[in-house]
């Protein structure tokens, strides 16, 4: 067993983990990154399409190019990098100590003694079982991300004639990618009446290649003995498949792009509580979970549309860890809750008197919408939004004067998260779309 001691350990060396680690290292902390794969970069390395970095760098980069912008600085920053290693356990040893155990092929068992942990494990894909598609279980059914890996990294052709279930961004990207390697993409089938992926990807990945998109349809069965032979597709009426109008598509490959789930098994085991809305940890305005000294950022916290926002959030997370380890005490906080037509808002609290960045995801498709921020029922901000849809996350930045300090005196004794998290400051912020 190898034992190491650092100020902070980052779990995951993808876009979130690298940005958080760099922010902490630049402030002088000793930092370790534990990464499962033999390389830094995470899922970006298999995303060889472009579209990354428009916010962060004002440039249109591929996934590996975007990752390189961080890999270089991380490698030269003196961060302790443990690759090809899996974190198996996080133990909290109060008041401030934590022990993190990782398995590494090269070093065996590695135990870190640390004061802060940043969870940056990313997310996983929902699979066939999660969406309960009936039929047989032949070869040729892949989640879109697995297919992307097989094509872009392993150099494999998954199949010749494909149907893609779900119009999430990875599925759309893979519709184009499969077409480019000579596979015929016969249909993208989306259960919702609107696409799950971004407008840009619908245009550039489907329309430009004349790939049909079936909205409001479901694949009710996947058939095939050894390899996929066909799928049965049915339109939905009032939420139920209409079997009289169903049709079959002969194909040898099915890709699933039916959503992503923050990967929080390690977080749960460490005692971190998970929000139903995001599938990620409850975090306060400092991106700290209910377990003191454990922070979260990136797709493990909530699934982002853009890596640029992951980077921004993770960098902020790193800065908050620095403040926390520097002994900075949080000021009183407001609780933040989703209001009308909003699925979630992250983070779950708000600190008046400083800039706060909130990310939220709409529940509705709407043109000419209005974003409203209320504190204890009183509107403090609003913004006009030309168009909202669930697949497009909204970033909301509130400056330090958005909520005046000391304006509230109500004592919030029992938030949904228990009295221990009493804000002291009092008040509840609600973010709605109308």
């Amino acid at each position: 067993m190898t034992v190491r001691s650092v100020d902070a350990v980052v779990v995951g060396g993808g876009s979130a983990g690298m940005a958080a680690a760099l922010a902490m290292r630049q402030a002088g902390l000793t930092v370790a990154i534990v990464e499962r794969d033999p390389f830094l970069g995470g899922i970006l390395l298999q995303c060889i399409h472009s579209g990354f970095g428009l916010h962060e760098f004002g440039q249109d980069l591929t996934g590996p190019e975007y990752a390189e912008r961080f890999i270089g600085p991380v490698l030269s920053s003196g961060i302790d990098i443990l690759l090809d290693a899996t974190v198996m356990e996080i133990r909290n040893e109060p008041p401030r100590g934590k022990v993190l155990t990782a398995f590494s092929r090269r070093l065996g068992i590695v135990r870190f003694s640390t004061r802060a942990i940043v969870l940056a494990m990313g997310c996983r894909e929902r699979n066939r079982g999660n969406v309960a598609i009936a039929g047989t279980r032949p070869a040729g059914v892949f989640t879109a991300g697995l297919a992307q890996r097989l094509v872009n990294v392993e150099g494999c052709i998954p199949g010749r004639r494909a149907v893609i279930i779900g119009s999430g961004d990875i599925g759309l990207i893979m519709a184009r990618r499969l077409t480019l390697i000579g596979c015929k993409v016969l249909a993208v089938v989306e259960i919702q009446p609107y696409p799950s992926g971004s407008v840009r990807n619908i245009v550039q990945c489907l329309n430009d290649f004349s790939i049909p998109l079936y909205l409001g349809h479901v694949v009710v069965r996947i058939e095939g003995k050894d390899r996929v032979e066909e799928v049965e597709v049915a339109p939905l009426d009032d939420g139920h498949p209409v079997s009289a109008k169903s049709f079959r598509i002969a194909c040898d490959t099915v890709l699933l792009s039916v959503g992503l789930i923050p990967e929080n098994e390690l977080s749960r085991a460490a005692g971190v509580s998970i929000e139903a809305g995001t599938g990620g940890p409850w975090v306060d305005a400092d991106l700290m979970t209910h377990v003191e000294g454990i922070f979260a950022c990136g797709n493990v916290l909530h699934v982002h549309d853009l890596v640029d926002f992951v980077t921004e959030e993770a960098r902020r997370c790193g800065e908050r860890v620095v403040s926390y380890l520097g002994g900075e005490r949080k000021q009183g906080m407001l609780t933040v809750a989703p209001g009308a037509n909003v699925r979630y808002v992250v983070p779950n609290t708000f600190v008046p008197g400083r800039e706060n960045v909130l990310f939220l995801r709409p529940l509705v498709v709407k043109n000419e919408a209005r974003l409203e921020v209320r504190v204890d029922g009183q509107e403090i901000r609003s913004r006009r939004l030309a168009h909202v849809q669930p697949s497009e996350m909204i970033r909301l930045s509130l400056d330090k004067d958005a909520v005046s300090v000391g304006a509230k005196s109500t004592e919030y004794g029992s938030t949904p998260y228990g009295g221990a998290k009493s804000t002291g400051y009092g008040g509840a912020m609600e973010v709605s779309i109308r």
């Binding site: 065996g108 199949g159 010749r160 050894d226």
Partner: protein
């Protein structure tokens, strides 16, 4: 020339092969698929039944009780995952309690050990996950849970270690009796000779019987759909929970699997297609409705996968284990549906006895080894205890399947033992059986199979020829490796 050829490497064939491997006999175990346990035995509820479900007059009741008792010794020898966590039959009315009285009497007559009738308080104490609506029921402490494929793999490994020849991808298409010898031919034209033949061909036992000119019967597949909930799912019970049985099946159960997931099912539907292992949306709803009535906290949200299996049934629903009266030197082991897994050790004993009575001379091998090396698993070890394992092989510290914490060393062990398909590796190690269902580990396992066997990625299959995972490589000539 073999003394005995056993057709079918499901749990019956594997148990028979292992039992016969203790005698001075040349035994061949013939499997038409690429790996053992790939037929009926893989899609199984994984329950070691407790001996109260079947009438004392049936052969299956006798073999179930005898088989159940054999599992402690077998586990000590073979090291497969197995635990006696107890079976509960939950009754929700006084009418159902009357059925429970009957099960209890039946169990006593069968010789089931330790069974008791329990009232509401005791049943809820035994299983707090049960609905408060429960009236009482039956408790059978000797019931248990097992990983069926691991059990079959272990039986085959032990048989092979003791000299049994295991032939895979070998489908019997023709058999001719020449003098005292069966000459058996495969679909690919391979041939072997054996003095005796045991027909343990599961769903295809009727076809095999016909090939050998033995008894005419037909196996009717009875489909059962099962749903798996992820490790850590809400409200899992600690014991196997049965409803009060209906006439044609034991009902839809809630099963805490020996590996920590929860299984719901099976359904029971008779069909004609012996290859139809499809699932349906209607059954999902039905199974959940039935399961939630017994264990209210389980949730559809926790489903990670569904599968279905086929029970090979015969009219009358009993096992058919006997020496053929039509074909010479031919033993029938047919209709082995539930509780076949539980009964398998006793089925093997019975087949041995039948062969002996029919004149086969059995001489024990002085050097027979009942045990095999138990598989080391990273997941089973406390972190503090892993250093020893990692010192032996650093690949135990390299996690390939994150959901089930399966190490590279375990995957390599599976491949080196001949499990060279994705499903074979999955059944041996559990890699790919967790919540992400192979989303992250599939390519890693493909790489390891390729590294260990030399197969190119496009030749690696899910469960044998025709189920290759990818159809080609980018940049290579069209058609190469395409399916």
């Amino acid at each position: 020339m073999y003394d005995i050829a056993i057709i079918g490497a499901g749990v019956s064939g594997a148990a028979i092969a292992r039992r016969l491997s203790s005698y001075r006999l040349d035994v061949a175990l013939i499997e038409r698929r690429v790996d053992a346990s790939f037929g009926v035995s893989k899609a199984n509820s994984g329950i070691i039944h407790a001996g109260f479900h079947h009438a004392p007059s049936s052969l299956k009741a006798r073999l179930e009780v005898a088989g159940n008792r054999a599992f402690d010794a077998l586990q000590a020898e073979l090291g497969f995952p197995f635990r006696r966590n107890g079976i509960i039959v939950a009754a929700f009315s006084w009418e159902e309690m009357k059925v429970v009285d009957g099960l209890y009497a039946q169990g006593l007559a069968n010789g089931a050990r330790g069974i008791e009738i329990v009232g509401r308080d005791r049943i809820l104490a035994l299983e707090p996950a049960l609905s408060g609506d429960v009236a009482g029921g039956l408790f059978a402490p000797e019931g248990g849970i097992i990983e069926p494929y691991r059990f079959v793999f272990a039986l085959v490994e032990s048989a092979v270690a003791n000299g049994v020849r295991f032939l895979t991808g070998w489908d019997v298409t023709e058999a001719i009796r020449q003098g005292d010898v069966w000459r058996i031919t495969s679909g690919t034209g391979e041939a072997l000779e054996a003095r005796w033949v045991v027909n343990a061909a599961g769903l295809h036992a009727d076809t095999v019987s016909a090939i050998f000119g033995a008894e005419h019967f037909s196996i009717v597949p009875r489909k059962g759909e099962e749903f798996i909930l992820e490790r850590g799912a809400a409200g899992p019970p600690s014991r196997v929970i049965f409803p009060v049985p209906a006439r044609s099946s034991k009902g839809v159960l809630v099963i805490p699997t020996v590996e920590g997931t929860v299984m719901l099912g099976p359904t029971a539907e008779e069909g004609e297609d012996k290859e139809d292992t499809s699932t349906t949306p209607e059954n999902l709803d039905r199974v959940f409705d039935l399961a939630i009535r017994m264990v209210p906290r389980i949730s559809k949200r926790d489903i990670i996968t569904a599968f279905s299996g086929l029970r090979p049934t015969l009219p009358g629903d009993d096992f058919y284990i006997d020496v053929s009266r039509e074909a010479p030197a031919f033993v029938q082991v047919a209709g082995i549906q539930s509780p076949g897994l539980t009964a398998s050790p006793a089925i093997a004993e019975r087949v041995r006895d039948l062969l002996q009575e029919a004149g086969l001379v059995l001489v024990e091998k002085p050097d027979w080894h009942p045990g095999i090396a138990h598989m080391e698993r990273t997941r089973d070890r406390a972190v503090s205890d892993l250093d020893r394992l990692v010192a032996k092989d650093p690949a135990y510290a390299h996690i390939v399947c994150r959901c089930e914490a399966v190490s590279e060393a375990e995957v390599v062990e599976a491949i080196r033992k001949g499990h060279t398909t994705l499903d074979g590796v999955k059944y041996y190690t559990r890699a790919g059986m967790g919540r992400c269902q192979g989303g992250f580990c599939t390519y890693r396992i493909m790489r390891l199979i390729s590294r260990e066997t030399g197969l190119p990625l496009e030749k690696i299959s899910k469960h044998g020829p025709g189920s290759e995972l990818v159809t080609g490589r980018i940049g290579e000539a069209e058609g190469r490796g395409a399916s």
